[in-house]
Amino acid sequence: MLDSILEGVIAFMLIAGGAFAFIGSLGLTHLKDFYMRLHGPSKTTTLGVGCTLLGSSLYFSLQGGPVVQELLITVFAFITAPVSAHMLAKSALHHKLKPDPRTRGNPIELESEKPKHAVEEAPQGNSPLP
């Protein structure tokens, strides 16, 4: 009885993990601009991986003594996922990737480069064309 309940829980975990990973990938192809696409893999996949590993941990704990390596993988995934997402977003801002036109807010990081160039070229003494 207890075994079949646990097996049900494991199966649920695996299916939920797969579903979350799938939705995350769907977001990656589906959403409109780079910044929005970042949301898919940075969140949904963490829980996808977390659920799958929890299921795996439960299953192998039933086979023999408790297995906890999966917990370590989960912790590492939860620590590293936000950092990679942050670096991706930062480099996108650095390249001044245009966000979707519906996006509100206009931070200085995204302003066009033209005025910056004008300031840089001014000290070289290039006479402006007539």
């Binding site: 939705i23 370590l72 936000p82 942050h86």
Partner: protein, 165 residues
């Protein structure tokens, strides 16, 4: 927490290293304790010069409560983002929000930025060089000020209480 000494410059890191070593080896034999103990003492001594001085955790119980709250929020976040991705109407209201930081130390700011990325519909995108503004991209937000207020009340205030009482 545990005060640092000459041979244990970062006691918490040493404990973590030992725990991770035992978990990875999946054994609590005496040999593994010894080897893990040697590594837990040697690694912090070698890499100590590269570490910034970390702020002490003043209230560990609040930290545990914070971690539990974030774990619950991660599940909620996943469900919400899944709903947004699957929503066929596709009426998203993305926004780039400039979040004014009140935290000053690097380590708490790192935790806050990671938390923001893991929780509902927001990704931290950029920390300005002056360390006072965090640029946050939100997937679907109705009221920008409400979002800033929520992040402040829910995550930044507890972090301030944990690290900077």
């Amino acid at each position: 927490m545990i005060p640092p000494t000459r041979w244990l410059p970062m006691p918490v890191l040493s404990l973590l290293l030992l725990a991770v070593w035992l978990l990875l080896q999946h054994s609590v034999a005496l040999g593994q304790w010894l080897l893990g103990g040697v590594l837990a003492i040697a690694i912090p001594l070698v890499c100590q010069p590269f570490w910034e001085r970390q702020p002490r955790v003043k209230r560990p119980f609040k930290l545990i409560r914070y971690v539990l709250r974030v774990l619950v929020d991660i599940v909620v976040a996943n469900l919400e983002v899944s709903k947004l991705i699957l929503d066929p109407r596709g009426k998203l209201r993305p926004a780039l929000v400039e979040y004014p930081l009140t935290l000053t130390q690097n380590f708490p700011i790192t935790i806050l930025a990671s938390t923001i990325t893991l929780t509902p519909g927001t990704v931290s995108a950029h920390l300005r060089l002056d360390g006072r503004t965090l640029l946050v991209h939100a997937l679907d937000v109705a009221d920008v000020d409400a979002l800033i207020d929520e992040i402040h009340q829910r995550y930044e205030r507890p972090l301030m209480e944990i690290f900077e009482p």
